[in-house]
Assembly symmetry: C2
Homo-oligomer: 343 residues x 2
Amino acid sequence: MIRKNNVSLKDVAAAAGVSTSLVSFVLNGKQQQYRVNKDVAEKVKRIAKELNYKPNGLAKSLRDGSSKTIGVIVSDISNQFFADIARHIESATEEKGYMALFASSDENAQTMEKQVERMLAKEVDGLILVPCNGSRNTIECLSERNVPFVLLDRYIPDLKSNYVTLDNVKAGYDATMHLIQQGYSQIAMVGYKGELVNIAGREEGYRQAMRDAGREDFISIHNVPMEDTARYCRKEVRSIVEGGADALLCATNAITIQCLRHIKDSDIRIPDDLALVGFDGGSVFDFFYAPLTYFEQPLETMARKSVDVLVEMLESGQGMMQQIEVAGKLIVRESSARKKQNK
Amino acid sequence: MIRKNNVSLKDVAAAAGVSTSLVSFVLNGKQQQYRVNKDVAEKVKRIAKELNYKPNGLAKSLRDGSSKTIGVIVSDISNQFFADIARHIESATEEKGYMALFASSDENAQTMEKQVERMLAKEVDGLILVPCNGSRNTIECLSERNVPFVLLDRYIPDLKSNYVTLDNVKAGYDATMHLIQQGYSQIAMVGYKGELVNIAGREEGYRQAMRDAGREDFISIHNVPMEDTARYCRKEVRSIVEGGADALLCATNAITIQCLRHIKDSDIRIPDDLALVGFDGGSVFDFFYAPLTYFEQPLETMARKSVDVLVEMLESGQGMMQQIEVAGKLIVRESSARKKQNK
DNA sequence: CTGTTAGCGCTTTCAC
DNA sequence: GTGAAAGCGCTAACAG
């Protein structure tokens, strides 16, 4: 029969011939505060070790109303972007004495809601969330219920809350401006349909840059549905090229990959026929024949900041709001090499 | 002040003017079993909903000695291989009514031990572990303590335990034999230093294939330390090519990437100068000028099986041992194209 | 210095 | 049909 070796405080107390409180005091380093007899303390410690006593975290959490656990809901933990974020969150939470509990929403509001409930049932102390389309309501409920949380990567417009995101407008602007400075002018952009603020920000930046460059007549935004990105990207890339674009800005990693898949199988040459700039790097883009220029998000900073903000809120008991926008930087490589004049 | 809306069973009971037991019965669908009055039941349900009552999972877990949580410790959750596994484990555990708690060991036995303790403190019902070099002792303790667990991706030699792995010997054999059949004969292999059984298995398969092909005189295994794979791969690739090899088998995804980084910057052409076969796919290898041939592990199957085995053990209370080796398949592409005769 | 006790929120046996 | 009470393991206020 399988059973875990469960020795409780009581067992230790019994074995040591003292009360459970004594054991609790000693094992929690409060022997000074409670002036526990040194010998007794030693004995308790020894016996606890002998019995291989491990405190039951559940009981402790129940007792003091804090599980020292943070729920983290991202779109998809297997997506490299979120996997990296998760790793950094894992480290940051651990350093702060918390444990991270991860789940994926699949960019689906209902799933998101379900995951939130599951985490709340586990009595997480707070949440770090990547809100998806349609999750506004869920998030608002969280506010009303006074559940501490911080939004990551995106936020909900007009909703007062903590969040940590990239400065997406600047990112979109910089990426676009870079292409313009490289000599490209008919720049198209592929993003996602929906109301995601990070995508919207990048588009906004793109628009501004095009305007500043006097190219607003070429603004060309192609938004694909988040489901079946592959098929739609293929379609869009084709029409973008046929439409005479000489450069393409892809709003996310996944979009870039799908566009690249199509391009690789076509006769479009990067950057001669089409310059390309994406978001987020990774070895994926290093091996393309023209290594990709991409806008790099400071993942670690974003992850750590979100943990910092949440933990600060948790430990101070204060309801302050922090809205943080971090800056990233463009990593320039061959996919956006200066345009050849003679073409 | 921040506080979660915590309404307990007692609150509902009070509001409904009944005892907590009644509420518990009703809310757990046991009104039939306990023949609760229909009207009362309705009222309780209504009030529970009005008060937005959510059961406290911690209390429940403490009470019935099961947290319905499974701890999962992989090498690094941000590594694509483990990120994919994690995602599948997440789905599988959820379908079975469990929650997955993830952590990374960084291939470090001490960290592994610490993570195990953290999970045990959270009272997980069982563990899914990717054992790393030197973790034998930790795993053995788990056995002795009767903690239900299953090893994933690797196992501990001579230790009777549940595990789910790839049939690594066959994988190494198939990969090597493929190269041989493509006309390559001086095949080198890069793996990891250490005692990881998955790597050892792949090597074993490689050796067998070389022997079967009458090439045992060319067997050439280059094991790099897990830390700083990048630098060592670079060194090894160089010496492998200088040593006259015409093909290379990389034992893991990470190794393949590092070797590829070096190759990309060198004048070695794939597959003309060197054929290449790796382990595990992903879009990374699709964009290399010669898309990579790789041995594909059935990640989803492995992940799901590990959950199945663990949950079966948990729910049956039986101490059966299951050792599962799943088969993968070679995905053949250009990096191992048939060798040109005239060279 | 040390033990008793109450209680965190929940389930379930047992009594009415 | 319903309620009281015990107890999961822990901590801390309060008595001694």
